[in-house]
Amino acid sequence: MKANVDLAVEIGSLKLKNPVMTASGCFAFGKEFADYYDLSTLGAITVKATTLEPRLGNPTPRVAETPGGMLNAIGLQNPGVEKVIAEELPHLRKYDIPVIVNIAGTTVEDYVAVTERLMDSEDVDAIEVNISCPNVKCGGIQFGTDPEQAAHVTREVKRVSKVPVIVKLSPNVTDIVEMARAVEAAGADAISLINTLVGMSIDLNKKKPLIANGVGGLSGPAVKPVAVRMTYQVAQAVNIPLIGMGGIMTGEDAIEFMMAGAAAVAVGTANFVNPLACPEIIEGIREFCEQNGVERVRDLQGAAWKEMAR
């Protein structure tokens, strides 16, 4: 029975055995989850944002719980691209899945330099350009809200990358379609959306923001309707594949993003709640397909607007 559903999807030249990948920053470099299951089960793995130099990140508290979601302001803590290449990526090669490296920076030159350095590694199958870190103190946010800047950084990274370039958009914009069109025109091979919404929680006892950084990025089920809406709008406006994310907890949530137009999905916050979230979501997708007579999960892509158009 199980073998009957074809879960394979493609993001440009990347071939995924199923549509479920990990969302950057929510899976570190995979090691922790390898204790819970075989990472080969995944469609792909996207690792934590990598910058040129090591970054310490923000002071704590870095996370807070909100209704149906959470805020985070990790602040791009990472050991820097050299250590990532030397120490973090090689172990992932033993799994039979594409490895996507999420990159961040303060200037366009940063993004280019990280990409160039990553091209020396055999262990990078795609680059995901994080132009959408909602943490106001880290660079990157200006790229995420101005279509011209977004296009510029996309073009520059594209120029030096030998692997597909995925651009990850911020939802904190008036017009997500404009942003998507800009990065598509600049050569992006795919688009990830959404990154986190900028939010805040206040500690009533201390009378100040709960997160040391003040604002943080909102993720989890609470943001799903915004993410589904943006996926739906962008999918109809561009011709490159989308990776949908934002609050996916179950197989049905993943299907919702695919019907909205995503070619694949990423799972973030759910990994914190349940380390087995990704394999369970993959199983959930398979079950949904079985129960609904869907032979190829990719056939569901964009079903929601195709249906509306009728």
Binding site: G25, E32, P61, R62, E65, M70, A222, F272, P275
Partner: protein
Amino acid sequence: MARLTILEHKEIARNMMWLAFEAPEDLIYTPGQFLHIRVTDGVDHLLRRPISLCKVLGEKTGIGIAYRVGGKGTKLLQAKKVGDVLDVLGPLGKGFKLHETDRHALLIGGGIGVPPMVELADQLTQNGVKVTSIIGFQSQNVAILVDELSAYGEVLVATNDGSLGKQGFVTDYMTDELLASADRFYACGPTPMLRAVQQKMEGKVDGYLSLEERMGCGIGACMACVTSCVMADGTIGYKKVCKEGPVFSAAEVVF
């Protein structure tokens, strides 16, 4: 990750609960480790709550924890009944290190830092180490686990208001004489207490501090729970409380 049935659940002091649940199969643990507990199956409280393993029961058939009811999540936890099922991850993290040659250890706990001392006292005494517990609370009505710890050795209690034991802080008990008699200390409690203990012990007794930090994943993946430490190369960097801690050697912690 396991779904474990609640065996016992009762109030042991004002807003302080004792909760025992069945142990996961093949329980492997060290004292000082924590359990990462979901407080609801719904999404309104997404993050798990880290609570220290307080006592392993029977032949590893159960786990006891003691927790304070404070925020929304622990209020939901409080409402669970015997027979209900808990979604538990763990035991997680690095627990207290036991040293074979020690003869006398000081266990220092403050408030909700007291629970992990119980299983630690049990294991130390089983190893032939004499334990002296020094524990502090706001007041008598929130004091917990005093009798439990008394089963393993002397217990010195301090309360802020003097309603139980000595009026003052745990550090007030730390005379040069007592410190001279000790091979090791183990401490868990609020940051000001841990900082005071670290200072008091410096150059005199080696030991361990168990830290608290807000957590996302509890398994080392999100980088939420970092704390400043002296790294192997002498620089100061961040370590993850959930994975590299919660127990750190006192010398490496930078407050």
